[in-house]
Amino acid sequence: MRAAVVLFPGLNADAEMVRTLGHVCGADVSIVRHTDTALPAGVDLVTIPGGFSYGDYLRCGALAKVSPIVPALRAHAERGGHLLGVCNGFQILTEMGLLPGALTRNLHRRFECGDVFVRVEADGPFTPKSSARWRLPIAHAEGRYQTTPETLRQLEGEGRIALRYCDAAGEVTDAANPNGSVGNVAGVYGGPRKNVFGLMPHPERCSEETIGGVDGRVLFDLVLAAA
């Protein structure tokens, strides 16, 4: 399995993504820089990690989307290649238009770091068929997922709402929503074959027993097995 980690200037969650893909899940990992114009040949999974691309200046992900590597990412997604965006990576994918909706300032207007629970709402390359409840960490100031009611209904109908924030019992409640996301949405599918996936929580920081648990590893094992 071959995986790539795309680095835009200011991304900072690359160390844990590389370690999870490579050391933990056994993929062959290469780094792609924003100035590159092509992805490594034969790459199965392309990931955009979290951080602050271009300092989140202007708008999260708004500057990254005009980088030289972006056409190659778009082509990969349109071909049906697996493309994962975590946190700032999710924001970049929405800015690129590969995923619907937008991520805006948390409702309480603070950066928020801590563990949350998410419920798997739809299956796909990155999520299991059986409903699952994962405990994953978040770390963001702009994770409030927003879209129109029509788009949300359409996404729900197409099984593209992948994850929702929930409580420890798996109930999707307002109290369990850490940022004011519409419908408690934490992760969304896109692409022709649900091959594009964006989520605000950090599964790559939660893939080893001693580092916060292994719920996040399920996602990587699934997509790497599908590749």
Binding site: G10, A13, A15, F52, G55, R110, F111, A139, G212
Partner: protein, 797 residues
């Protein structure tokens, strides 16, 4: 450069904007008349206006440590692991297998009070650069924060701003914040304290120093462009604020022009560029921190006993028509000064281009021993019309005069009992308690004791994926992958910061020694051997004799504890003049420590783990009212918390306790271990039940505790709330109890079974042998709720 060796003793040319040197100009530069005489003697002539500006920052308290240097010499700074002690950008300590921990703590108090977000953010940015300039990738940060009274009108705004600023920089640059402390006290109403700590890890054979070595080597400028921000930030650090913070609607001190503005995105690019540059032929490198280009170039020349010649025409700028005075004293952030071998300049410039950073060759290392600055009068690279370049000498100063020969004062000391924190009375009796359960619930929900989750949730605690223990325990613990010869060696490091300022006020020697002991205790209960400390010595004006005594005796207390516990001070800083309207802060010598775990299984946390485990108190149970002086509980009850004697500390007993704990954690004997400190024994017990970070409450475990104490109110209060040091609440599997007790007995450490872990409540029985038990029943859900609401009165819900 036209020539490597300038003509000696050039007389500087006049520049636009130069002011005549009058008593007023000297005062505004904080140069005393005696110091000015000394400057003229060093130069053999009158300094130019720009040279006066240079002296004012280099001889400032912030850069020269002129009031504290004679005392700092008494700190123990050596040890078998020490690779670099104080005097460099950061301290360096061996962590084995060819790797080193590089760390320092620094204050950014004055800027944070003026502009809390940027003050705190640039404090974090500055300490990060101090660490990565030495070749280390930063892996963890801490911060120690002090604010005024919870109900002071500015406290909420300052707390919001500082916490957002710390997070704003640290989260963006991608270094996890894994711990710290937060305290409120009215003495900080007019002077908040923001002390930021960062630790990085480097190869022990690849440490870079701030030295301008190699005559003829090139000096390069890399990073952000220079603007007019932060001019005279270093001298401003010695300002006392005038009267702000006392009135109901306090006015803000107006010194915005001295403020720096941080750009963490640029900081991240600079970090990655520097780490890449370190694999090339770099001779020396230093952050342009306080006093910017001036202090970095002077200090680099001074450490190497060399001279430096700089051409200001080459400095990248973002403001038009900057004068040499402004360029030299600007504290624009995210800039580095670097020394490279001739022929390597292009490599440096290419790497900077890759990371989209400005870079320029701006000077050369000379053997003249002089600091020579040139510039073309009227030249402005941003001007529409270019002018002919004709650089003339702006400054020509002996490097020694700015560094080693800077003034050193052994300022007069006085009787601490005459100061603002004079001991007023003894604590004869504890305030009366009628409902112990309510009293405990209130204490653990008070602003200085309860959960700091509101703060920590605003920090990325887990970026880089190495955080083993998040904030909320005794120490943050981080797993660090160290790459060597294609192998990854995992190192586990623990970090903590502490200072109980009221104890320092009661007795500077004892209080400071207790701070050292507590930092080390926090590390050993986490399973880590303390390998080095860094300090931020925050005090009032050194020109007041009683403050000078506090400084001197606190340093002696730190030295005594470090010596007994065999842990060196390897870096730090001093922040004086923390005064407003003539009123100083509580003496606050903050200590931060780094611990090394012998192996990852030694890792121990504060929280109870399994029903049936036995709870043991290691250390002495206090008697009488010992430990109540200066305690949080007394302060909460409105009692004079600065009455009485500081709790005493027996450093030999502390050493024995810590040695016992290190062995017990190394051998995986303990299920949990937690230091008893602020809020006393009962607070430590509550925390062991419900303070597990980021639990949703599901992991909480209660306990049934019995404490042997007489029915007297004083005795009960001292037992539950007293803050006597050298005590730890541990829990062990029943099968391990005999082993722990036998080790404690052999080590001469008192150990007492307190009870058993289990249930959804904490029940504490108070009794003497044979007398009826006074039972206190506390539901864990109530305790958790109370702790988590502790900051609500300040920050809202």
């Amino acid at each position: 450069m036209a020539s490597a060796v300038p003509a000696p003793h050039s007389t500087p040319a006049p520049f636009r904007g130069d002011q005549a040197i009058t008593p007023d100009v000297l005062r505004s530069h904080k140069i005393s008349p005696a110091e000015y005489v000394s400057i003229e003697k060093h130069l053999g002539r009158t300094p130019s206006y720009t040279e006066l500006g240079v002296f004012s920052v280099m001889w400032s308290e912030h850069c020269s440590y002129k009031s504290s240097r004679v005392h700092l010499r008494r700190l123990p700074t050596k040890g078998p692991r020490v690779i670099q002690g104080p005097g460099e950008n950061a301290g360096v300590v061996d962590i084995g297998d060819g790797f080193a921990a590089v760390f320092k703590m620094e204050s950014h108090n004055h800027p944070s009070f003026i502009e809390p977000y940027q003050g705190a953010a640039t404090g974090v940015g500055g300490i990060l650069r101090d660490v990565f300039t030495m070749g280390a990738r930063p892996i963890a940060s801490l911060n120690s924060l002090r604010f005024g009274s919870p109900d002071h009108p500015r406290t909420s705004e300052l707390l919001h701003g500082v916490v957002a600023g710390v997070g704003g920089y640290g989260n963006c640059i991608g270094v996890p914040t894994v711990g710290g402390e937060l305290t409120f006290d009215k003495s900080y109403d007019g002077n908040v304290l923001v002390n930021a700590f960062t630790c990085g890890v480097a190869r022990a054979d690849k440490i870079f120093y701030g030295k301008a070595t190699g005559i003829g080597n090139s000096i390069l400028y890399i990073g952000a462009k220079t603007g007019r921000d932060g001019i005279h930030g270093a001298t401003m650090a010695s300002d006392e604020f005038a009267g702000a913070g006392t009135a109901a609607a306090p006015k803000r001190p107006v010194s915005r022009s001295t403020m720096q503005v941080g750009d963490p995105f640029l900081g991240k690019l600079l970090l990655e560029a520097c780490l890449e540059l370190f694999s090339h032929d770099i001779e020396g490198i230093q952050d342009m921190g306080a006093a910017g280009l001036t202090s970095s170039s002077v200090e680099m020349a001074g450490r190497a006993k060399n001279g430096i010649e700089l051409d200001l025409d080459k400095i990248p700028r973002r403001a038009k028509a900057m004068l040499p005075y402004e360029i030299l004293l600007s504290e624009s952030q995210e800039r580095m000064l670097l020394v490279a071998k001739p022929g390597c300049e292009q490599q440096v410039l290419d790497i900077c281009t890759k990371w989209e950073l400005d870079a320029a060759v701006i000077g050369v290392v000379t053997d003249s021993g002089r600091w020579v600055i040139k510039a073309t009068p009227g030249y402005d690279p941003l001007a529409d019309e270019p002018i002919a370049m004709n650089a003339v000498v702006v400054c020509d100063l002996p490097t020694d005069a700015l560094t080693d020969d800077a003034p050193v004062y052994d300022r007069p000391q006085g009787d601490v009992s005459e100061g603002a924190f004079a001991q007023t009375a003894q604590v004869e009796h504890a305030p009366e308690v009628s409902d112990w359960a309510a009293e405990i619930t209130r204490l653990v929900g008070s602003p200085n004791i309860g959960s700091r989750a509101w703060v920590w949730r605003q920090y990325d605690q887990i970026v880089r994926g190495g955080t083993r223990v998040r904030p909320g325990g005794d120490a943050g613990v981080v797993r660090v992958p160290c790459e060597k010869d294609g192998q990854t060696i995992m190192k586990h490091l623990a970090f903590t910061a502490d200072c109980h300022a009221r104890h320092v006020a009661l007795d500077p020697f004892v209080g400071a020694a207790m701070a050292v002991a507590e930092v080390c205790r926090n590390l050993v209960v986490s399973g880590a051997e303390p390998i080095g400390l860094t300090d931020c010595l925050n005090f009032g004006s050194p020109e007041r004799p009683e403050v000078m005594t506090q400084i001197s005796r606190a340093i002696d207390g730190i030295a005594a504890a470090c010596t007994e516990l065999s842990v060196p001070i390897v870096s730090g800083n001093v922040s004086l003049y923390n005064e407003t309207g003539g009123r100083g802060i509580l003496p606050t010598p903050t200590l931060a420590g780094v611990g090394l775990l012998p192996h990852e299984d030694a890792l121990t946390t504060a929280w109870f783990k399994e029903t049936g485990d036995v709870v043991v108190l290691l250390g002495v149970m206090p008697t009488g009212v010992h430990g109540l002086s200066g305690s949080e509980w007394l302060a909460l009850r409105g009692h004079d918390a600065l009455a009485g004697d500081a709790p005493s500390i027996d450093l030999a007993a502390e050493k024995a306790l810590q040695t016992l704990l290190l062995g017990a954690t190394r051998d995986r004997l303990l299920a949990s271990a937690h230091d008893v400190s602020d809020g006393g024994l009962v607070t430590a017990l509550v925390e062991a039940c419900v303070a597990r970070p980021d639990a949703t409450g599901g992991g909480d475990l209660g306990a049934r505790i019995d404490i042997e104490v007489t029915a007297a109110n004083d005795a009960r209060a001292a037992a539950l709330f007293g803050e006597a040091p050298s005590r730890v609440v541990a829990s062990v599997r029943p099968a391990q109890l005999a082993e722990l007790l036998s080790r404690a007995s052999a080590a001469g450490v008192p150990a007492k079974e307190l009870g058993v872990v289990g249930g959804t409540s904490l029940s504490v029985g108070l009794a003497t042998h044979g007398s009826p038990v006074h039972g206190i029943h506390l539901e864990l859900s109530d305790l958790r709720r109370s702790r988590e609401a502790c900051l609500t009165p300040i920050v809202g819900s």
